[in-house]
């Protein structure tokens, strides 16, 4: 915790900010990218959102009150940015968020940056059909193996509600995939 405070101070101080921010980007770029990519699905969209997330972190670091860890704060920004992006894209296309995400997942077969097998593809399509919050919880728990406490901080949701969300998501996916086989 002390180490984090020192690092945050370095991020806030103009003389050390540039170097500290470069370290921050280096440390978190892949994690944030994959977190965002699983939400927005398309690589080009994830590329836009991850860059925008870091820009927002850079602009807001002085307002960071350290009520949470830097890690969860950045994940929260990334999640909000990704969801805002979907909202913005879907509304421009005259679609609901869910419809937009499902359409992206349906197009994965022809996506240059997706090389999953039939099982991976079927799983992604079913994940896309989950309600927004369940989808994010499922991604964070199943693919990233994050603990409920961290997810709870990032999504500002109780651990109990998250467990229920994950349980429902797994149940739905299992049922759908077993019906298909």
């Amino acid at each position: 915790m002390k180490h984090q405070s020192l690092f945050i101070n370095a991020l806030k101080h103009p003389s050390s900010r540039e170097e500290a921010f470069a370290r921050l980007v280096s440390e978190y770029k892949e994690r944030l990218y994959w977190h965002i990519r699983k939400i927005v699905i398309d690589h080009d969209d994830a590329n836009d959102v991850v860059q925008n997330t870091f820009i927002k972190v850079h602009l807001n670091i002085e307002n960071f009150k350290e009520n949470s860890t830097l890690f969860t704060w950045m994940y929260r920004i990334a999640t909000n940015e990704a969801l805002n992006f979907i909202k913005s894209k879907a509304s421009k296309m005259g679609l609901q968020n869910q419809e937009w995400v499902e359409a992206l997942a349906d197009g994965l077969e022809s996506d240059t940056y997706f090389d999953g097998d039939a099982a991976a593809l079927a799983l992604q399509k079913e994940v896309a059909r989950l309600p927004e919050k369940q989808r994010i919880v499922f991604n964070m728990k199943y693919f990233d193996d994050m603990n409920y406490e961290s997810i709870s901080e990032i999504l500002d949701t109780s651990v109990g509600a998250l467990k229920a969300s994950y349980h429902h998501a797994v149940k739905k996916i299992k049922t759908k995939l077993s019906d298909e086989n």
Partner: protein, 139 residues
């Protein structure tokens, strides 16, 4: 009897150079949902792009907000002038120091409202987006 201070065990040549890499490889969590890929060397270029943009964007966005704030401030000053003429003629409307503080408050509140950054981008002129925040579709 002479005891050797050096341990009798040996390691393969260059072992410690590769150990760190091996351990990090094994402990690295795979954050990718399997199936998704990125273009070759994507993460190497991403870092440079972000660092380049954070410097440029900060200056540009501050300028943009400053312009918006200046317009708001002018309108507020006109109103204040109108009321000051009718009430207290000797009162200073807005000092430079106050205006700086007010600008900082404006910026802080703006972000606290958690505006959609894509809405912010829509406020920028096309040329400003090109120079300040080049969102390349391809990395």
């Amino acid at each position: 009897m002479k005891i050797k201070k050096q341990p009798p065990f040996k390691v393969p040549k260059g072992y410690f150079d590769t150990l760190e890499e091996m351990v990090l490889d094994k402990t690295k969590t795979n954050y990718n949902a399997y199936g998704f890929k990125t273009p070759k060397n994507y993460f190497e270029t991403l870092e440079k792009k972000i660092l380049r943009k954070t410097t440029g964007f900060e200056k540009k966005s501050k300028k943009l907000f400053q312009n918006a704030f200046a317009a708001t401030l002018t309108a507020a000053a006109c109103l204040a002038l109108y009321f000051s003429i009718n009430t207290t003629p000797n009162q200073t409307i807005i000092s430079e120091k106050n205006s700086e503080q007010a600008f900082e408050d404006f910026i802080e509140n703006y972000y606290l409202e958690d505006r959609d950054s894509y809405d912010i981008l829509s406020l920028l002129e096309e040329t400003e987006i090109e120079t300040a925040l080049t969102f390349n579709s391809k990395p």
